[in-house]
């Protein structure tokens, strides 16, 4: 079982709260763009929910893969 992670690029403002919260899924590239895994393990469900909650732009969607 795994989770699907999607970031809506028209809303993302690159605040970086998700990178702080779940660095194993979200990271910044050298140029400061957001990069993220498309899928993550179920064990990260709580962390991903936190990242979703903390995102100032509400740009993160998490669902079943």
């Amino acid at each position: 079982m795994s989770l699907r992670v999607h970031v809506d690029r028209t809303h993302c403002e690159l605040h970086g709260q998700c990178v702080e919260r779940v660095p194993s899924v979200f990271r910044f590239t050298d140029g400061g763009d957001l990069d993220h895994l498309a899928e993550a393990g179920d064990d990260l469900a709580d962390d991903l929910a936190d990242a979703q909650f903390l995102c100032p732009a509400q740009a993160i969607e998490v669902g079943p893969a």
Partner: protein, 403 residues
Amino acid sequence: MSLADLVGLAPDALRDPGSVYDELRAKGVHFAPEVNAYVVAGHDDVSRVLRDAKRFSSTITVGNPPPSATDDPNRLRPLLLLSDDPVHATRRSIVNRAFTPSQVRSWEPVVRRIAEQHVDALRDADTVDLVERIAAPLPVRVISALLGVPADDVDKFRAWSEEITGSLGGHAADPEKRDRVQREFTGYMDELMNRHDGRAGDDVLSTIVAADRAGELTRREAVSFTIELLIAGNITTTHHLASSMKLLAETDGLADRLRAEPALIPRFVEESLRLESPIQGFYRLALEDSVVGGTEIPAGSRLLVLYQAANRDPAAWEQCPHLKLDRPNASAHLAFGKGPHACIGSSLARLEGVVVVETLLDRVAEITLLTPPDEVPYLASFINHGPTSLPARLAFRPTGEAS
């Protein structure tokens, strides 16, 4: 009109800087002696510089030199606005929790009550100044309520806040007065935090007091933080509300359309932010040699990064100068910046914009502006952008009439 007119605070340029930005964009990234900085005006270039916080430092965001060891240590300094990672990320994560979108949504009833009070108070007035009566007092009332500032102190609060922000990008700063205002403001906030009972709450002050008591922040930092958040959200939101009301009044058919289709109101608010960005631009400091938009920028250079110019870049926006309610990329404007320093209060600013427009549409049938469009006065600053006065006549709808 030229950049010199804008920097020289010529009223016509401040009111409508669009042609200045068109010219700057057409020139590409270039050094402008008027601001002693490389000017970045295209959408992609602005976005790139803002994202790349490793190469472009925020320590000179408002144009002043970065802090030095010889500065007065008692001088109040913003903790978020002028800091770089890793310090910035740590501080930011402390306050971010107080400004999550779900947190901000929970404040909606407070914002709505304040907006209704301000609009209803105008019911019997003949003519009103929409800036003086709505746009200026409302944001400070809201942020004061969220900080737990007693109602009696709100006017004092507003005066301090305006004094400190008014000097950004303008030429009116009086260092002695500024220092005195900062001392008074700091003392007041220190007292407010001392009196706080320390209980965890959903307001901003509780979050900061908790960090203070947990030792994540010194008291001085905690006070600076609170003041920074208050100031950051005050004049910017005033300008945002004023520009939105101006657009609402002067755009043919807009009020009727929004009343018929209230779901479009948030889209109007995005367009208002795009077309009349309350912060026109900020500075960055190049930490290393780099190339932006094909132009070489040596380490140590200043860059003036123009959000408003990006928001009016025809390469990024179809029918760019027109207010359109059906843009697929409506919220992708750069009015709140982008990257690690993107505005932490954007959800609150959007909420205030939407609620004020909804309240006006609900209660007022027609807003008639009494100043010709080319005579509306704007703040004497090329960083902060917004009308300082909007005299208007309001035709209220009969009470009890449903919208």
